[in-house]
């Protein structure tokens, strides 16, 4: 049975459409990634299913039932930023969360240990670093050992070791039978952690399914080649005129070329050389979520 069903949800802020008839279901026992660039509507969607935002249209159900307080008490949630009383200690903050959830206080030491904050449990929240705040928010979501967890950008603000820890924690939670719904703009994170993915762009649901399905179900016959040269602007201009090139995107210090499937790296290299450009990088990308994501979203930044 579906843990969460989102049915035709739309949300408008004045003239801005933040979500546009979004529908999907989250199967039990999955790690369900909601993937999209910044500003694509991920947090708005999570805000609606956690009842802090009102949908303009549409509905959702948790375990087949209309959303309610009782259901939210059994869902562990980290939404957008860690929200705590800054003048209270970690422990006192968790006490408030546990009381609202109707849970006993016996879980508090356990969840603090799970995120490595037990030693700092008496420190005030406003003395915490960004990463510690984020870990406290994850600890709070684990109170009462909920079967469903909702994480919005869970590794935000963490250092590389912290990121790895949280990813391990998420996978361990999933192995223990929890369903995890996770919003992220980090492709790599979704690819490493999630079993299922929904791709959102500018409020539209572009694609949804298991990571395998989304990867294999390419409707466009295209491939991605990564190139770089001394002058990226010139290279971009030249490549845009090449036959068979569908799209060119600047990504850090390289270009991602979406081109027809029959084009080879050799052809591309030759073309550039004839135009007087020496490539410093030429890399045929294997089909990853990143290439798929670029295909699906057209890869323009939405910011």
């Amino acid at each position: 049975m579906a843990i969460l069903t989102v049915d035709n949800i739309s949300k408008t802020y004045g003239h801005i459409r933040a979500l546009n008839n979004v529908s999907f279901s989250v199967p039990a026992g999955t790690v369900f990634g909601i993937l999209g660039p910044n500003g694509s509507g991920k947090t708005t969607l999570l805000g609606i299913i956690m009842d802090v935002l009102r949908a303009t249209q549409g509905s959702y159900t948790w375990n087949g039932q209309k959303g309610s307080n009782e259901q939210r008490r059994k869902i562990g949630t980290l939404l957008e930023t860690p929200n705590f009383y800054p003048y209270l200690s970690a422990e006192s903050n968790l006490k408030i969360a546990a009381e609202i959830k109707g849970q006993g206080l016996e879980d508090i030491p356990k969840v603090l240990q799970a995120v490595n904050l037990y030693q700092r449990r008496k420190s005030k929240f406003n003395t915490y670093s960004l990463g510690m705040k984020q870990r406290l928010a994850i600890a709070s979501s684990l109170l009462g050992d909920p079967d469903i967890l909702v994480f919005d950008e869970p590794t935000n603000g963490l250092d590389p070791a912290g990121i790895a820890e949280i990813r391990d924690l998420i996978q361990e939670l999933n192995r223990n039978g929890k369903t995890i719904i996770m919003a992220s703009h980090i492709l790599d994170e979704v690819e490493k952690v999630c079993t299922h993915v929904a791709i959102i762009q500018k409020g539209d649901l572009k694609m949804v399914g298991s990571v395998g399905e989304v990867l294999s179900g390419s409707s466009i016959k295209a491939k991605i080649i990564e190139v770089a040269s001394h002058d990226l602007a010139v290279l971009e201009n030249v490549l845009r005129q090449m036959k068979g090139v569908l799209n060119v995107n600047l990504s850090e210090n390289r270009l991602l070329i979406t081109c027809e499937e029959n084009m080879s790296a050799e052809q591309l290299n030759k073309y550039c050389f004839e135009k007087g450009i020496i490539l410093s990088r030429l890399n045929l990308k294997t089909k990853s979520l990143e290439t798929r994501f670029l295909e699906i979203t057209g890869s323009q930044s939405d910011r």
Binding site: R54, R72, T77, F84, I96, S140
Partner: protein, 266 residues
């Protein structure tokens, strides 16, 4: 409701600003009361003039008039509690904990009821302070035979005044959200807008001024030093009490209606 108050208490019991402002009320109100009363009652030898003034004003520190003074003085200090109450509401928005409380499993109404439980707490504790300090000062300074509880209804009037002040603060906090702006609006309303409107209306010999949101409560407990002959009010106490109740209901309705439908953002 008690369970909700318990959670509110967890939020505020380690909040220094809460204790600072709350203690100002709990301690300063009785201290100021005692100080004014002792100066007034014990300044002998002021001559004929002083005796006449005192005869003219009556004695605000003996039964039964001490109840009115206690309620009036409490009203002055209670403005601080109104500010504290706004702070406790707008803090939630600033910390985004109003969202978190809902995410963790409160309904929007639970959040409002929790804040209402705080309102009741402030009204009850401050009313107790007004009652106890009035009682003690009255017992100390009243001579001869007296009925302690004559005019004790002023303590009840204080409770109504405290309630409508906090309901106004509640409304401002929920609608305005920003701490600084909310407090400015609250003080502008309490100190300027309400009084200026009242003055304009009263100067025109209209009684409508007594039906203003805060003035209806203030008028229930007039300044005890103001001679009765200067009182222009002809509106009955019952009419004022009904007005307070009507405002409290309207404010409550607006708060609930707004908060239940709105997106919880900062």
């Amino acid at each position: 409701m008690l369970k909700l108050f318990k959670i509110e208490w967890l939020k505020i019991r380690e909040y220094k600003t809460f204790w600072a402002l709350f203690i100002i009320f709990l301690v300063m109100d009785p201290l100021a009361f005692y100080f004014i009363a002792s100066k007034y009652m014990e300044s002998h030898g002021g001559g004929q003039q002083e005796v006449m003034i005192k005869a003219f004003l009556g004695s605000p520190f003996v039964f039964p008039k001490v109840w009115q003074f206690s309620a009036w003085l409490g009203g002055l200090f209670f403005v601080m509690i109104g500010m504290l109450y706004i702070l406790l509401i707008t803090n939630e928005v600033q910390y985004r904990t109003h969202r978190q409380n809902i995410i963790d499993g409160w309904s929007r109404m639970d959040f409002l009821k929790a804040k209402l439980s705080l309102l009741i707490f402030f009204v009850l504790t401050s009313t107790a302070v007004v009652f106890i300090s009035g009682l003690l000062i009255g017992l100390v300074y009243t001579e001869g035979s007296y009925d302690i509880f004559e005019q004790v209804y002023y303590v009840g009037y204080f409770a109504m005044m405290a309630t409508i002040y906090l309901m106004s603060a509640f409304l401002i906090g929920i609608l305005v959200k920003r701490t600084g702006l909310s407090i400015i609006i609250y003080f502008a309303l309490v100190c300027i807008v309400d009084n200026v409107l009242w003055l304009i209306l009263t100067l025109k010999n209209s009684q409508f001024g007594y039906f203003l949101p805060l003035e209806c409560a203030d008028s229930l407990v007039p300044n005890p030093f103001k001679p009765t002959m200067m009182e222009k009010r002809t509106v009955s106490d019952i009419a004022l009490i009904s007005t307070i109740a009507a405002y409290a209901l309207v404010f409550g309705y607006v708060i609930i209606n707004y908060f239940r439908k709105s997106d919880l953002k900062t």
